[in-house]
């Protein structure tokens, strides 16, 4: 399992979100999921990837409060440490 450094987590999450639809340049820390047209189904997939890669289990309640890409990165980094 790769180490959950903030840089590694950010790169992985950005890559995953870009594979769901938006162009990779759009996927910045500040970008909101709404702007990126990332919905609840996409976030479930993101949670599966994060769990696979970092062993961090994210529940529906965790995901509900996420508004931006940065929120997701910070949550995963915090949980992984």
């Amino acid at each position: 399992m790769p180490t959950a450094t903030p840089e590694a987590v950010e790169a992985r999450i950005v890559e995953a979100l870009a594979s769901f639809g938006p162009d990779i340049e759009q996927v910045t820390r500040e970008a909101t999921f709404e702007e990126l047209d990332i919905d609840s189904l996409d976030l479930v997939e993101l949670a599966q990837i994060v769990e696979d890669d970092y062993g961090v289990e994210l529940k529906g309640d965790d995901m509900k409060n996420l508004k931006t890409v940065g929120d997701a990165i910070d949550l995963v980094v915090a949980r992984a440490s």
Partner: protein, 402 residues
Amino acid sequence: MTRRRVVITGVGAVTPLGVGADVLLRRWVAGESGIAAGEGACRDFAAGEHLSKKEIRRSDRFAHLAMVASDEALASAGWDGEKPYASERIGCVLATGIGGLGSLEEQHDVLRDSGAKAVSPLSVPLFMVNAGAAALSMRHGLRGPAYSVGSACAAGSHAIGTAARMIQTGDADAVVTGGAEATLTPLARASFVSAGALSPSGISRPFDARRDGFVMGEGAGILVLEDAERAAERGAPVLGEVRGYASTSDAYHLTATEPEGTYAAAALAAALRDADVAPAQVDYVNAHGTSTELNDASETKALKRVLGEDVARDVPVSSLKSAIGHLLGAAGAVEAIATLLAMRERVLPPTLGLEQPDPELDLDYVPLRARPLQPRGERPIALSNSFGFGGHNVVLCLEGVA
């Protein structure tokens, strides 16, 4: 009250002969086959050329094919700008034999290999049978009745008939309809082989003495149906009319057709009655013609029974499956489109591969080469047959343009 008439104002197709409805007819008439290595795959189709990354991820290949065919159909109906009807007055009835089988197989592998937690949340939305209808509704903002119909290889024609009825009863003013299928997958192949339905030779040659089963294909055909009066008011391009529709069931066997074609004949007779068309007015029959021993024999018997021996021998009958294989739930839709275009071009497309006539099958199957179509009346009239596993029989009576 007179029944509302239903016209076809746009068509689109993605088939083993290429992306587009016109290329389908042109290549079929030229005697070209889209079958390679025993399958009719849409080799010229690359979803990424037509759909966004998000649309591709969020739908199965059968819905991809439907979306691309629908873009062409709506554009050819002149619907590419604002829709000519209120969105909740436009329906969508899409056929599929099986649905998103490729996605189902893929996610079943994930379940088996990685466990339940790894299964994609998109699994059911991808493989559910109505996924194609939902995709078209969302892509084009169709907010009238939208659903999928399933009757195996008869579904494409059932969809068109159902869509026509939806307009006739006033439930919608226009309906985007047709069928889509993408089941060139290991499970579908294995299943059809076990059932003894697929051709071991990999050759689709309907009505030929050597026919040994169908060749599986994939693709989509989409038609825009409109209330004839409303279409005329907006000066819509008209490709033809759904004159009649009927369906019956064999209640006989899970996969085999009733050998005498009794209930296929009943559907043919009822479609002619529904259309108010006499057998002698029929200019062309687009056969179900699967290249299986049973279908081609019982279909021939059904045609003779309804049209009468003399008229039946006189009416040209051909099978598109000779050129693209069997598109299952999309077959009836793609065949209706090819029939409409053939009537417009005044051409009788050929049954390819028919080199050794079966002495028992003695109709004019337009073997190998296309011929001119000379309509008996002002407008050509054709029948399009579709029969499905489960004993479903559907017949459409289509009228072409003057």
